[in-house]
Structure formats: C-alpha cells, structure tokens
C-alpha cells in the first residue's frame, strides 16, 4: 500500500498527481498544456468511473478501512463548533477508542459519541484501533443520558472493527456494557442520528447504533461479523474473506435494499478520504434535514417509533403480527 493508497485506486491517484504537476507547470508556461490537461482530466474521469462503478464488496471493505479515511474527530472538526470532549465512565477509566463530547451544530447544542481510530501506529495503540472496552460504552451511555437530561440531539459516528476481545474487556463486562447501551439507547427521549462512516463491526457498532435514523456512507459496511471472521468459521480460512464479504451482503446499497438503514450517503469522487470536507458537508445537510423532521415528534413518539423500527427487523416465515397472542 504505497503512500497509504490502495492498489486499485493507485493508477487514479498517480494520474491526478500528473494533472496537478501539469497545472503547476501551466501556471508558468504558455497555452500548450491546456489540450493535454483536458485530455488527462477526461482520462481521469473515465478511470474513476471504471474503478468506482463496479467495486466488489471486498474493495468496499478496503475503502471503509482506508488509512486515510476521515475519522470521527475529523467530522467533529468540520461539523461542530465549541466541541468539548468528555472523558471517562466515572467507574473504571477513560477509553480513547470511543470519544464523546458536547458541541454545537449550526448553533444548536448537541451531544456526540463515536469510535476513534488512530492515524499511525502510536496513535492506534492509544486508540486500540477503534475497538472499545466496556468503559468506552459506559462513557457513551453516560453522555447519552446527559443529552437526554438536557434535551440535546445525539449524534453517533460508527467506525470500529468491533468491541475489543480481550481479558480486561471480559473482566469488566463487555457484554453487559453493550447490552445496556443498546437497551437504554432504544428508550432515550431525544433524537438520535447514527452515521456508519467506516467499519460497522457487529455488537461493538450496534452499541452506539440504535437511532431514529441510520445512515451509511457509500463505501462503508455494517456487518454481524467481520468478513475474515466469517470466512475463518464457514470457509475454514481467512483467505476467503472476499467470498464471505459477498455472502454477508453488508455493503451500503445492500443494507438499504434489506431495509435496515434509512439512506446511503454518497461519497465524493474517489471516496470520503479524497475530500473529507465535502463528505462532512453531506453529513451536515443530512443532520439538518433529519433534525427538522424529528423535532416535530414528542419524546414519547420518538421512543415509540424508534423501538417499533427495531422491533420490525428480521425476515421469517409465518406468525407475523400479534395474532397468536390474541
């Protein structure tokens, strides 16, 4: 992965670099390069379409995990003013893999939670590659309750390989922390908007994912298990991750088709990592629209609809409705 670029996007990145070099050159020289520039740009457009119009699920996984992909703190910087980070679960410690805080969206007070990955090895050790421990989820829940108390909308950004599977995490009740967060979120009396911005890794993602609206960025995925984990169990080798990625139907367009999310948010040409500011603008417009809709509902209506939404999820034969109960 030279320069942190993926193999399949590298030809495009190199071509774009040539265009930029030529533009710099053109600033000094005559009109000779104009034709060449135009043809190169056309070529880049074609190449971009060629690469991104038929991405395989596995390529989407790689984009979702792109080391240059914007993370929660990047979105926070673009979207909110007066951001004030809140640390700690008030019981055990602080978890840097999951950040929480208060801020303002277009002047309006909001609360924010989100997974946070590191940009480099050192930061990733601190952030545990975006894999929270129980104290991370307990911090998130604490801030959600704070939002409820003061009537602030909750914004949640999901980007995690999963909740951390380790000794300390088990000792401190990873299951309990996730379960409680899911239950409490389903009954929280303020609007909750969820954005899956990268990897939506199973229970560790859902723990902050029970929202009134759930949006998934175009090249993000949201899955019950990682493609590698699924492959190692059902194909007996992690090498078959690409096949598992297809079988699990977890890409943004597939999730929309399955009816478990509200909308796929289009990414800038080449992916969110090529233009984080543009991606943040799209998210911002989405927040504005959704909050305007949800502001019309009473807290009780919000909770009832949110719970109904998740109660309706699943596909099975027979026995629907409450008939058997009557």
């Amino acid at each position: 992965m030279p320069g942190g670029w993926l193999e399949f996007e590298l030809p495009l990145v190199q071509l774009e670099q040539r265009i930029r070099d030529l533009q710099t050159l053109a600033g000094k020289q005559g009109p000779d390069v104009a034709d060449e520039l135009r043809s190169l740009e056309r070529k880049a457009d074609r190449l971009r379409r060629k690469i991104f119009s038929k991405l395989t699920p596995w390529e989407r996984v790689k984009l979702a995990r792109h080391p240059r992909r914007p993370y929660t703190l990047d979105y926070i910087q673009h979207l909110f003013t007066d951001f004030f980070e809140l640390h700690g679960d008030r019981a055990f410690g602080d978890d840097a893999a999951l950040i929480a805080g208060l801020g303002r969206f277009e002047g309006r007070p909001v609360a924010v939670v989100g997974h946070q990955k590191g940009r480099n090895t050192k930061e990733n050790l601190r952030r545990n590659f975006g894999m929270p421990h129980p104290e991370g989820y307990r911090k998130a829940l604490r801030v959600m309750k704070l939002a409820e108390k003061f009537g602030n909308p909750m914004l949640s950004f999901i980007d995690t390989p999963g909740a951390y599977p380790g000794i300390g995490a088990e000792e401190r009740g990873q299951s309990e922390a996730i379960a409680r967060s899911i239950r409490e979120m389903s009954a929280l009396k303020v609007p909750i908007l969820v954005f899956v911005t990268g990897e939506g890794g199973s229970g560790g993602a859902l723990a902050i994912g029970v929202g009134d609206r759930v949006y998934v960025l175009e090249y993000s995925f949201y899955s019950v298990i990682s493609p590698e984990g699924c492959a190692s169990i059902l194909w007996k080798t992690r090498e078959k991750a690409a096949q598992a990625a297809e079988a699990l139907k977890f890409t943004a367009p597939e999730l929309l088709k399955l009816g478990v999310i509200d909308q796929v948010l289009p990414e800038p040409p080449g992916g969110a990592h090529r233009d984080g500011a543009a991606m943040a603008r799209t998210i911002g417009e989405t927040i504005r629209g959704a909050l305007a809709e949800l502001d019309e509902l009473t807290p009780e209506q919000l909770v009832e609809r949110r719970q109904d939404r998740f109660l309706s999820m699943g596909v099975f034969d027979g026995g629907t409705s409450g008939k058997e109960i009557e």
């Binding site: 909740a163 951390y164 599977p165 380790g166 000794i167 995490a169 088990e170 000792e171 401190r172 009740g173 990873q174 299951s175 309990e176 996730i178 379960a179 409680r180 899911i182 239950r183 409490e184 389903s186 009954a187 199973s202 229970g203 859902l206 723990a207 994912g209 029970v210 949201y222 899955s223 019950v224 298990i225 984990g229 699924c230 169990i233 059902l234 194909w235 007996k236 078959k240 079988a247 699990l248 139907k249 977890f250 999730l255 399955l258 478990v260 949110r306 719970q307 998740f310 109660l311 999820m313 699943g314 596909v315 099975f316 034969d317 027979g318 026995g319 629907t320 409450g322 058997e324 109960i325």
Partner: protein
Amino acid sequence: MSWLKKIISLPRPQQRRQMPDGVWLKCPRCGEILFRQELERNLWVCSRCSKHLRLSPEQYVRILCDEGSFATLFGGIRSSDPLRFRDAREKYSDKVKRAQRGDPEREGVMTGRARIAGIPLALAVMDFSFMGGSMGSVVGERIAKLIQLALQERMALIIISCSGGARMHEGIYSLMQMAKTCAQLARFQAARLPFISVLTDPTTGGVSASFAMLGDVIVAEPGALIGFAGPRVIRETIGQELPSGFQRTEFLLEKGFIDQIVPRHQLREALALLLKHFSDSARCTRVSQSVPPREPRMHGQ
C-alpha cells in the same frame, strides 16, 4: 425435593440427540463412565465432577415447570433465508432443514407459557442443538413476541440462554435481533415487570451482549462459559493462553456480573422463590404516577 420425584415419573418425550444413545455414557470433563438412567435421575449432572451436561428445551421444561403447564407459542414463526446465504459447503436453507430434524417448529429457541410453583410466566429456552442456539430472525422474533405477551398479560419473564451468539448466515438481520430483543425488553422493564435471566453453557456473543445480561436477576449454572468474545478469538487476538476458569460462571460471579450460581438441582426452587418474591412485591407496591394505573400487579396465583 418432592417435585423431583414427580419429574422423574413423567413420561419421557423422545430423547434429543444431545447424547449418544446407549446405556453408558462418558463424562466429557472427568471421563467417568455414567449409567444413563442414573444420569437422567441426576438431571444430567455428572455424579463425580458435577459437570452440567447440556439439556434440550424440553428437558428444562420437565425439570422446571409445573407438570403439564407448558404450552408452546410462536412455533409458527419459522426460518427463511433472506440473504440466500451459502458458504463453502452448503446452503443456509439446507443447514436449517437438517437442524430441524423433521420438526419444522424447531429453532434456536422454544417459547411458551408455563407455570412454576403455580405462578404463570412467559418462558423461553434456547436450543444449542439447533445451529449452536444462534440468534437469527426467528429467535429474535419469538423472544420479542414472548416479551410482548408477558407485557400484555403482566407476567414474569424467564429466558434460559444457551447460545454461541448471532447467526451470521442471516447477516445484518441477525445483528439487529440484539436491538429488537433489547427494545422489547426496554418496554417490558419500564412496566416494572420482572425478567429473570438464566445463563447456561455457553452464553456468548450477540446473546450475552443483549437480553441475557439484562435480567433484573441473573443466575447461571455452574461451570458455564459466559462472555462476549469466544475464548479462541481472544486467544488469537492477544496471542497468549487464557487464565484457567476465565469466562466461567464462577469468574463472572467474582467480577460482579451475575447474582448467583445455581446448580441445576436447585434451579426450580430458586426460580420459584424469585417469582414469588416479585409477584408478592407487585401486589404490595403502590402505583406511582409514572406507571399505567390500570393494573399494578403482575399475575400471581
């Protein structure tokens, strides 16, 4: 323990293939050769090492419920194959068919009404023999429906968990069952009705990280594996061996995540005591403004 005798004298439904047929069995933990009939009398607990062998839902019903009180509900909710999932070896739909073993109602959980010590309740018992008790759409829907029923009729809820977690063959739908069951539980618990969660071997993944860990009271059988991640995944992640007893019932008690370890022989008595406690409390509780004033009490005798 007079109830115990009653259980033993009950006509035996056809035996599930949890145990190989035969007169003698070998304990998987201590290797003791056990006489089948004796093992059954001992509620499938090894007389030498106390290993609690895995039970079928029907066996739990026989051990725990008042005779003839259990009635299955929601058996009509059955598996489909929303993703048309197939792995290296076979289609999910074929796997389901095989796990049904001729009974189309069989799934990862059995749900219904029951009575324990005369107290009516909603009961779910997970079935590990059906794809590891994994939670897909059917398990989620049956449990959600059962909780809804318990809420409408103001009954106590008991769920006996035995599951490896989410059923990945149903992809994102199986993950969403965690949210579904928790959302229904949120409604149930807001109505101040009691949920007793019983953890058995194993209770992990998407089941432990949803309803199983949300009981008002949580009890577990001895020696059960209980945790979020499976030991193999943790071992591979941290690259070292796990301490002995890690993620076992006794470990969870020590860490503060379950209320009591209850051996199988005492499970019925323990559940009866808790059910009585909660139904008598409900009768005594004065209703506050925040709960619907209509029927303050949960159903008692």
